[in-house]
């Protein structure tokens, strides 16, 4: 694996060297940092602190038109699906990069989903290591790490005055070649400093849970009354699903405008009653207890059955953003104790 050093003051030049790509990066938008397309690259554009919101919307937008239609001629047009240019997503955290590996099989298997896959294959992922984990981060409990390379093409690890650049894939190599004049080879000393920094960050992660036997346990206690207790304070707002990098459930709705319209897909949430409500009025998940149970079941049992991996990267957002302090780790602990 090739390793390089990029001085911090050269970062903007590095990004400018990639101007043939559409660039997506974390930018400050009003009060929050969001992943968005960057049109103007300068020192004030970016916000590289840990991001509260996930970049999943770049591949799987919150609202996306599937096709347009004409209600008179019944013509349908789905031509706007493929990105016009190759893309680079810069500055995502290793946990969010891993989330794409969890989303990939969902959209790839059985009936490949062109909307996600066309964007996904057109996007090169350049990550930055996590240097300041949030209080509820637990990536190391679910197979991740603050400097995990999984899912990335290039990984930047922050040293005091520079970035240690790890080339992970052929696409990553292409990027490095395009900006080669800005990079120098990394020395063994710099690698040692990098390893120490990564280790120190790992130790900053305070929360953890052993998830090994969870799938069997969750199946076993499916009918246990504990779900009602766990869901007691849940208000069903769905923020856990909207901030989750691996949640992918969606709704499909038609929007009609004068003689035509578009069929759209919109993020949905399993925490909403309407999500499973039958037209007859019957609801297989009538209360928040069944809905919370389904979410945990989906993440830690169903996803493993179907795709061999838990549907969680341990980013802790569902805990941090919950308005009533539903705590996934505590909930899993209680389940394990049964």
């Amino acid at each position: 694996m090739e390793k390089f050093i990029l001085p911090k003051e050269k970062l903007i030049d590095f990004l400018k060297a990639l101007e043939s790509y559409d660039l997506f990066a974390p930018v400050r938008k009003e009060e929050v940092t969001v992943f968005a397309q960057v049109n103007k690259i300068d020192g004030t554009t970016f916000d590289f602190k840990n991001q509260p919101l996930t970049p999943k919307g770049i591949m799987f937008p919150q609202t996306e038109s599937l096709f347009t239609f004409d209600t008179k001629t019944y013509a349908m047009n789905d031509s706007a699906m493929t990105p016009k240019k190759q893309r680079v997503m810069f500055g995502l955290r290793p946990c969010d990069a891993r989330s794409f590996l969890i989303l990939d099989p969902v959209f790839k298997q059985d009936y490949p989903d062109p909307y996600y896959l066309e964007k996904r294959t057109a996007t090169i992922l350049i990550g930055i290591n996590c240097s300041e984990p949030f209080t509820n981060c637990f990536c190391t409990s679910v197979g991740g790490s603050p400097a995990s390379q999984e899912g990335l093409d290039l990984l930047f690890i922050e040293l005091p005055n520079s970035y240690f650049v790890e080339v992970i894939s052929p696409q990553g190599k292409t990027i490095v070649e395009e900006a080669s004049s800005l990079l120098s080879s990394a020395s063994p000393e710099e690698e040692k400093i990098k390893d120490e920094i990564v280790q120190a960050v790992k130790e900053k992660i305070k929360r953890n849970i052993e998830t090994k036997h969870l799938p069997e346990k969750i199946e076993k206690i499916f009918e246990n009354p504990i779900w009602k207790d766990l869901a007691f304070k849940c208000i069903g707002c769905g923020i856990c699903t909207y901030t989750c990098p691996t949640c992918y459930c969606f709704d499909i709705q038609d929007e009609v405008l004068k003689g035509g319209g578009k069929r759209q897909r919109i993020w949905d949430s399993c925490m909403f009653k309407e999500y499973t409500l039958h037209a007859s009025g019957h609801n297989p998940r009538p209360t928040r207890a069944e809905r919370l149970r389904n979410r945990i079941y989906h993440k830690f049992k169903q996803n493993i059955d179907k795709y061999g991996v838990a549907g969680c990267v341990g980013c802790g957002r569902c805990i941090s953003f919950c308005p009533v302090n539903e705590d996934l780790i505590e909930n899993l602990m209680k389940i394990k104790k049964l």
Partner: protein, 278 residues
């Protein structure tokens, strides 16, 4: 460019046959895909479903009630229930709908060859069973004794009346109809479907029982079948849930780790009884 599984085909309404009346009326729509080659390529198996829709309104997952042996068209028996099905009920012959599919698994009719087949249906639940019955009629030699048990609340709630009355005249198929409440002129069984089943007492020997209908009926039919000596693997049913994508992605139709749209709708009782949340 990749194939787009969300893009439906246009399908013209050839005919509409009212099955039942009332607030929750049922109509059978005969649809032909606008593109001739696509119609020929639309090969389904009994038990499979398709997304039937109207541009500007939406789509609903509906069981294909015609048999794969009926070529050149597709039939769907649709109960007026929510937004999409109400709009479908307001459509007229000649209008263009949309279809995606076929989706899901199917009844293993190949495996059932040389067996006795008992279908037990209630209300609109007869729709997937009609596909099975029509298939068996066209492959009659492949199967042994056939019993069709079907019931509804009253005579006006029975679907496929003409077809079933015609089948009653056949000597190689037994039809056992019922209504829940007594009516003047009705000389057949009066009572619930599970009770009719217990009265008929089909033998489990070399038999397969397939049941579709309201959940409470299915529950008691399965109980009755077990009482009659049927084993779990001889009993089949279908499951339904709200669906949006039909292709195992949108998340909502799961029962345990199965998606009903893709891994269902057909389940043997052997599989079904291991699933939570049914």
């Amino acid at each position: 460019m990749m194939k787009n599984p969300y893009l439906p085909q246009r399908a013209k309404i050839e005919s509409i046959r009212p099955e039942t009346r009332g607030e929750r009326a049922i109509k059978t729509f005969k649809l032909v895909l606008a593109d001739k080659a696509s119609q020929e390529n639309f090969v389904h198996k009994s038990g499979q479903c398709a997304m039937v829709g109207i541009l500007g309104v939406g789509e609903s997952m509906i069981s294909i009630s015609s048999s794969p042996t009926q070529k050149g068209y597709l039939e769907f028996s649709i109960m007026k229930m929510g937004k999409v099905t109400s709009a479908l009920h307001n459509s007229e012959v000649g209008e263009v709908l949309t279809i995606r599919g076929p989706y899901g698994n199917h009844f293993p009719l190949e495996e059932w060859k040389n067996k006795n087949i008992i279908t037990i249906g209630g209300g609109i639940g007869q729709a997937p069973l009609r596909s099975v019955i029509n298939y068996i009629q066209d492959r009659r030699k492949d199967y042994r004794e056939i019993d069709i048990i079907y019931g509804a609340r009253s005579t006006i709630d029975l679907c496929y009346k003409e077809e079933l009355f015609d089948l009653e005249k056949r000597t190689d198929i037994r039809v056992h109809l019922s209504i829940d409440v007594e009516e003047e002129g009705w000389d057949k069984f009066v009572g619930f479907v599970p009770n009719n089943l217990l009265r008929i007492k089909p033998s489990p020997k070399n038999s397969i029982a397939v049941t579709c209908g309201p959940p409470v009926m299915i529950k008691f039919v399965i109980k009755s079948l077990l009482d009659l000596g049927f084993s779990d693997h001889q009993i089949y049913t279908t499951v339904e849930n709200r669906m949006k994508c039909g292709i195992g992605k949108c998340g909502r139709c799961n029962v345990g780790s199965f998606y009903v749209c893709k891994d269902g709708p057909v389940f043997s009782y052997e599989t079904l009884k291991q699933l939570s949340e049914i």
